[in-house]
Amino acid sequence: MPQQLQPAAANVYAVVFRVLFWGMVASTTLFALGVFRALQHPVAIPLANAPLLSVHATWQGLARLDPASLMLAATLLLILTPVVRVVLACIAFGVDHDPKFVAVTGIVLAVIVLTVILGRLGLR
């Protein structure tokens, strides 16, 4: 039968909402700043694959509000938001003593880790 929302479930709802909301706010801010900076000095951009900046170059670019670095950071933040949501949901299920869903979210995290490993090792 359908169930009412338990306090433990409400915790997970709250955690998931906060992660998604603040991830959206942070990445949107960085994207908006990046576009604004890019429009200050419009350049011609090739519509082909974009070169990846190194971590060092990205940090330096962020310090001087370089548009490419801002957009890269925003993209990374955006990609990481649902990943962090899964991590925190896994922890919230653990705190709420729900081992079945700790396992379920753990499998999702394992797939994400496998994706990163495959991406770094083989797909260049």
Binding site: P2, Y13, S27, T28, L39, L47, V83, R85, V116, R124
Partner: protein, 313 residues
């Protein structure tokens, strides 16, 4: 098949001035995609990929990569709102994410090595399928809710074991809708396929998941939309990670697209729970048919040099 992911797009030397006009058009297209994506529980990628390919002549792999990132944006925006309203079934969503992420991983690996025309053809096929499904099932939801059919079913073993059933308050009908989740096997299988479509074609795969949850798992349309909206974020993240590491994400294109889809998704979620399912499905079917035709024409032109009459796309 291409020798490497990058070698597939080297024949695309188009250069575009990053002007206010360019950004404004990209942003507007993305707002539209995000709005309808949120209404229908899809990521908006189903609109973004054809728009980037047909309007901006972007290579399909870059369009897919940009679309995947925008799908995450709509998921964060729309997903958070549906979670706050408790329309999302978190437990069901997280269970199905196991299968969508596995599908996304296989789909995005395939996408990196597949020829452009084949991707376009697959995309067109998916759009035709979605249009047909939305139209055929347009009255399904209202009738079942009116008959109380969603709450009368018997849960299957996995649904019972993982407590996947739920309820939400439907503002359009002004009543609480209880539902019992069943058919987890078929749901898991379709979720894998949806994940694969996501990684391969840059879509959220939401329409497959919404359809499977609604028709096979006894989940009302709006709960299916809310749950799908949350799931597509992590599904698209898997594909995005691979595309990012392969250097196929164009940040200058992604930025206005992500901003537009976020704004559109926020708007869409505000009105979704106040509209009737039948209206949503009718709009969706017409849009899908139009885009399917455009993508099919592009695929045939690329592979066989066949020119189909233009419908303005």
């Amino acid at each position: 098949m291409c020798k490497s992911p990058r070698s597939c797009i080297l024949n695309a030397p188009l250069v575009m001035l990053y002007s206010l006009h360019f950004v404004a058009v990209l942003f507007s297209v993305a707002v539209f995609a995000g709005f309808f994506g949120a209404l229908l529980g899809v990521g908006g990628g189903i609109f973004i990929v054809p728009a980037l390919v047909l309007l901006f002549q972007l290579p399909v792999k870059l369009a897919v990569a940009a679309s995947l990132v925008s799908v995450i944006a709509t998921s964060n925006a729309g997903g958070s709102s549906y979670v706050e309203q408790h329309i999302t079934n978190l437990r069901l969503g997280m269970f199905l994410e196991v299968f969508t992420t596995l599908g996304a991983l296989s789909g995005s690996i395939l996408a990196l090595y597949l020829n452009e025309w084949l991707m376009l053809l697959l995309f067109a096929t998916l759009l035709f399928y979605m249009a047909a499904t939305a139209y055929i099932t347009r009255h399904h939801d209202d009738r079942r809710i009116a008959a109380g059919g969603y709450g009368d079913a018997t849960p299957d073993a996995w649904s019972r074991r993982l407590s996947l059933s739920g309820n939400y308050h439907d503002h359009a009908l002004d009543r609480q809708v209880d539902y019992v989740v069943r058919g987890t096997g078929i749901g898991a299988f379709v979720s894998y396929l949806a994940g694969m479509a996501s990684g391969l074609l840059g879509v959220g795969g939401g329409v497959l998941k919404v359809s499977a949850m609604n028709r096979s798992m006894n989940v009302p349309m709006k709960a299916a939309v809310g749950t799908s909206k949350m799931m597509i974020g992590v599904t698209a993240a898997v594909g995005s990670i691979l595309f990012f590491l392969a250097g196929l994400i164009h940040f200058y294109v992604v930025a206005p697209v992500a901003l537009g889809t976020t704004a559109g998704a926020e708007l869409g979620t505000l009105v979704m729970n106040r509209l009737r399912s039948v209206v949503l499905k009718r709009i969706f079917a017409v849009l899908m048919l139009y885009l399917a035709y455009g993508m099919l024409a592009q695929a045939l032109a690329l592979r066989f040099h066949l020119v189909l009459p233009s419908l303005g796309s």
